[in-house]
Amino acid sequence: MTTATTTAPPPYASVQLRLDDSWLTVCACDRLTPGRGVAVLLPDGRRQAALFLDRDRRLYAIDNRDPFSGAAVLARGLVGSADGRPFVASPLLKQRFDLASGRCLDDDAAGVGVYEVRVLA
């Protein structure tokens, strides 16, 4: 599973997340810092996504909830890469999640959902 990514978004373009069959406009690209994430509240007021920009300015979005602690904190983890694939390490107990697939790199049984992201110029 791979989430859609776009390269080199223009700074003021809007970032959108795919929700079932609609697109949610989240923020302008320049709100994102390469190597860090932000949390996104989904319209149901409960679910949250974690949106990341990597240093090559590619976008990724995964579920914000850390399955190990139950807390919605993945957006606050550190981004890294392993074998050329970006991941985020949970800030709580440090398990790593592949940003493109949501797969947990430290526990095959765990993972998080992923969202398609696009940039609306």
Partner: protein, 873 residues
């Protein structure tokens, strides 16, 4: 000629030696040893006006050695062996057919054997003005005399073209003559042929510290002269223009841009010369003409190299002498010269430099083990192959181990390379390597795991999983690594092959203030250009923060690229709790707090509904703050005079105090004041791990100072300083570092101790583990910080002074900057909406996280993932 000699029948054969340099003289000695001087008439032509002297020691002329003292020609030697020496009479022509040489003075001699030992000549790049008065080379005694005379006649500033071995010697000479001295080196580092990048950096630092102005990575474009054609101009050097456009005001220039073999005579008489110069000779130092030999720097040896060092030249002298003697005996000589080790050990401007073996790590798959401390000018690198076989190395600043290391080259040293490069310092001899440990030796003290148990596993991950070794304090991880098959990789993580300490040196010496630059330039091949990882990002952030002012980085941890490196705690300047909320810990220096401030903390806690607890560190922790509340909470606290307590950082936490002399009947010093002073001094200091301290007013030790990284206990005469204490998982009592210090002495020592720790500790290595790990342990640390054995103390103190001057409260700064505040939002699309998972339930009159909420099944599954690789605009 020896009168006794003239009575003997005339010698039947004539040997002519061209050149009386160091190698020529050694050759004559070898001839004499073999008796060849008794069977041959030996005639030597020398271009220089004096017999052979010690060119290697030429520079010692400036420290008072006279040309006579430099001589390597024993006055009796030539006479004793009937050797004829014609000084200042160079050979100008060789006729191989007629077997004659002709000298400048017109002497023509027929030879049976001819030996060329003409050495080499300095290369002077063809830049305009290079012949102007004031331009010199650095090769002979006459050169040195001329430079001295010119300098004394009124020169003030000199430049040396070439930052190699000889260039630096020349620079030292100019400095010795009292000239301001520049060195211009085309390569990006000094001594490019001998040392690697790290060694060059160490050298640069030391030499710059000694007043040399170094320009690397730039060439000399033109020597500017005081136009001779203009009225009054002398045509002499007045400056120099570099290829980067810089103009230097200099009145004396020394060219030392390499040497060229003096093979002119050989070329002219049709002997083969190498592509890059040098008379081609075989293993016995014989040219294509069986009667002609060439030795020393003018020869290209059988391995195709021209050696610019005296030791290989000496070997060639022996070889040629043996070949000539054997030729007489019509037996092939067994002495051959097939090439030499170019190991060198020198002292340049008082800096020891040595390189040996495969110093540049040219062998495939080889690894570097380096220790760099360029503040003290020490750089040591050993090149080992995958099995640990020592292949070569570079030593700058401390070449003590050169002999041993060179001897060990080609074998696996009994002590691991890591230990071999550590500074000799006082204290224990290097411990034996892990291979010497018995199988039942306990490798991990935390988990009581033996070497055998560790070696039953294949990787560190496996070791940790199966034996738990290395999962405690972590101090054994390095040793475990050495015991495992893929040993040798001491790198910080999958991204960097260097240790934290090495990265610290790289950041400091190359002034790299960007994580990306560090990763892309110094990371592992596969990690360059990538995102890094959660291990190295905060570690590098901490290094950059510790060195901020020294490397011109911004000390504010949240700015620019730094922002993305920080663990969430540093990023939000607060501690993340299990439900995603944060705790807030204002600094309460020494644990002393006014009622008014206590009230403010109470009011803030009440207003924001925070759980309040007195910590084990003598301060107050406020729990349960949501990320978007942090700025408002801190605005209140800052307004009341509080600062960040850095509970989130690998930084100074608290300096606990007991009540001390002011109130306590036993107290002998004011422990509260000292604790406050220390806490204010070191607040905000970034370190490999957190730092804790305490000050007790007497030996009853109510502040538990001996469980701290640096603990202070009052005495009647002042303060005792203890270091390396730890509570936590592996408690350790601190060791006494120094006694009865006065206030200033105490602070000075703590400054040094902390900075030395910050500089040399591994990532997440508390002072206790560090003290146990480093070679020489406490004794070594005492030598360095008390006795200044590495000459580092002034620098350590300066670094701390920098820290103290540049300290700013992170929270006050954050609040003052809307841009920085922008990140304190719960959601990028709903900045003030509370995280629905951060909810609380009551307990004992306060709140606690609603834990069942966290264990509920996550809400609705995530949306359908997109198609593989789909991109949309």
């Amino acid at each position: 000629m020896d009168p006794a000699r003239s009575l003997l029948p005339p010698l039947s054969r004539t040997l002519v030696l061209v050149g009386h340099g160091m190698v020529g003289q050694r050759f004559l000695e070898a001839l004499a040893e073999r008796g060849t001087t008794a069977t041959h008439r030996v005639v030597v032509f020398a271009e220089e006006p004096r017999p052979a002297y010690d060119r290697v020691q030429l520079t010692s002329y400036f420290s008072g050695r006279t040309p006579d003292e430099l001589s390597v020609t024993d006055t009796g030697f030539l006479a004793e062996h009937g050797i004829e020496l014609h000084l200042a009479d160079p050979v100008e022509h060789i006729d191989r057919k007629a077997r004659t040489v002709t000298s400048r003075a017109g002497r023509t001699l027929t030879y049976d054997t001819l030996v060329l030992a003409t050495g080499s000549a300095p290369f002077v790049p063809p830049v305009p003005g290079r012949d102007a008065p004031g331009c010199f080379v650095y090769r002979t005694v006459e050169d040195v005399l001329a430079i001295e005379a010119y300098a004394r006649a009124g020169a003030t500033t000199g430049a040396v073209v070439g930052g190699g071995l000889l260039g630096l010697e020349a620079a030292g000479a100019l400095q010795g003559l009292g000239l301001g001295t520049h060195v211009v080196e085309f390569a990006p580092r000094l001594m490019p042929a001998q040392v690697d990048e790290g060694g060059g950096a160490a050298l640069l630092r030391t030499l710059t510290g000694r007043g040399l102005t170094v320009h690397t990575g730039t060439g000399t474009q033109e020597i500017l002269t005081d136009g001779a054609d203009n009225t009054g101009g002398t045509g002499a050097v007045r400056g120099m223009r570099l290829s980067d456009g810089t103009e230097l005001d200099v009145d004396l220039v020394v060219f030392s841009a390499g040497v060229r073999a003096r093979d002119q005579l050989a070329r002219e008489c049709g002997l083969a010369v190498g592509e890059r110069g040098g008379v081609v000779v075989d293993e016995r130092c014989r040219t294509g003409d069986p009667r002609v030999y060439a030795i020393g720097e003018c020869a290209q040896a059988a391995d195709g190299r021209v050696y610019g060092l005296v030791a290989p030249g000496y070997e060639m002298a022996q070889t040629a002498a043996a070949a000539i003697a054997a030729h007489d005996a019509t037996a092939a000589s067994t002495t051959v010269f097939t090439g030499a080790d170019t190991s060198t050990k020198l002292k340049l401007l008082g800096v020891d430099v040595a390189s040996f073996g495969d110093a540049h790590g040219a062998a495939e798959g080889c690894l570097d083990v380096a220790y760099a401390d360029s503040r003290s000018g020490t750089y040591k690198k050993l090149v080992v192959d995958a099995d640990g076989t020592l292949l070569g190395g570079v030593l700058v600043g401390d070449t003590e181990a050169y002999g041993t290391l060179r001897a060990l080259t080609g074998s696996v040293p009994p002590t691991p390379a890591e230990q071999l490069v550590l500074p000799a310092g006082a204290g224990a001899a290097p411990a034996l390597g892990p291979e010497a440990l018995p199988g039942d030796a306990v490798v991990c003290n935390c988990h009581n795991v033996t070497k055998d148990a560790v070696q039953a596993c294949a990787t560190l991950t496996e070791v940790k999983k199966c034996t738990k070794a290395g999962t405690g304090c972590g101090s054994c991880v390095r040793l475990i690594g050495q015991l495992l098959p893929e040993s040798g990789d001491t790198g910080l993580c999958g991204c960097f092959p260097q240790t934290r300490q090495e990265l610290y040196e790289i950041v400091r010496t190359l002034r790299i203030a960007s994580y990306r630059e560090l990763l892309d330039r110094h990371g592992r091949e596969g990690a360059r250009g990538g995102e890094g990882c959660e291990t190295c990002k905060p570690a590098v952030a901490s290094v950059i923060a510790s060195l901020a002012s020294a490397i011109g980085a911004d000390g504010y941890v949240l700015d620019g690229e730094q922002a993305a490196l920080q663990d969430t705690n540093d990023h939000f300047l607060a501690n993340l709790q299990k439900n995603g909320s944060y705790s807030v810990v204002p600094r309460i220096p020494g644990g002393e707090i006014t009622p008014d401030k206590l009230i403010v903390i109470g009011e803030v806690a009440r207003e924001f509904g925070l759980y309040t607890k007195i910590t084990g560190g003598q301060r107050i922790d406020l729990f349960g703050a949501r990320v978007e509340q942090l700025p408002r909470i801190w605005a209140r606290l800052v307004a009341a005079g509080f600062e960040s307590g850095h509970a989130y950082g690998k930084a100074l936490r608290t300096v606990k105090s007991c009540v001390g002399r002011t109130w306590c009947r036993y107290g002998v010093q004011d422990s509260v004041r000292m604790a406050i002073d220390l806490e204010l001094r070191y607040r905000g200091l970034r370190a490999p791990h957190k730092l804790k301290s305490a000050v007790s007013g007497c030996a009853r030790e109510c502040a538990e100072a001996r469980s701290k990284d640096f603990g202070v206990i009052a005495t009647a005469g002042g303060w005792n300083l203890y270091v390396g204490g730890n509570g936590g998982a592996a408690p350790r009592h601190a060791d006494l570092l120094a006694q009865d210090l006065d206030d200033a002495g105490l602070v000075r020592l703590v400054d040094r101790f902390l900075m030395f720790y910050i500089r040399t500790a591994d990532r997440l290595e508390r002072t206790s583990a560090w003290l146990e790990r480093i070679d020489g342990g406490l004794d070594h640390v005492r030598d360095v910080v008390v006795h200044d054995s590495l000459g580092l103390c002034a620098e350590l103190e300066a670094l701390m002074a920098d820290h103290v001057t540049h300290y700013r409260d992170e929270w006050a700064e954050t609040l003052a900057d809307p841009e920085r505040l922008a990140r304190f939002v719960s959601f990028v699309n709903a900045p003030e909406a509370p995280d629905p998972l951060v909810a609380f339930v009551p307990e004992r009159g306060q709140i606690k996280p609603d834990l069942p909420l966290l264990t509920l099944r996550p809400p609705a599954p995530a949306p359908t993932p997109a198609l593989e690789g789909a991109t949309s605009r």
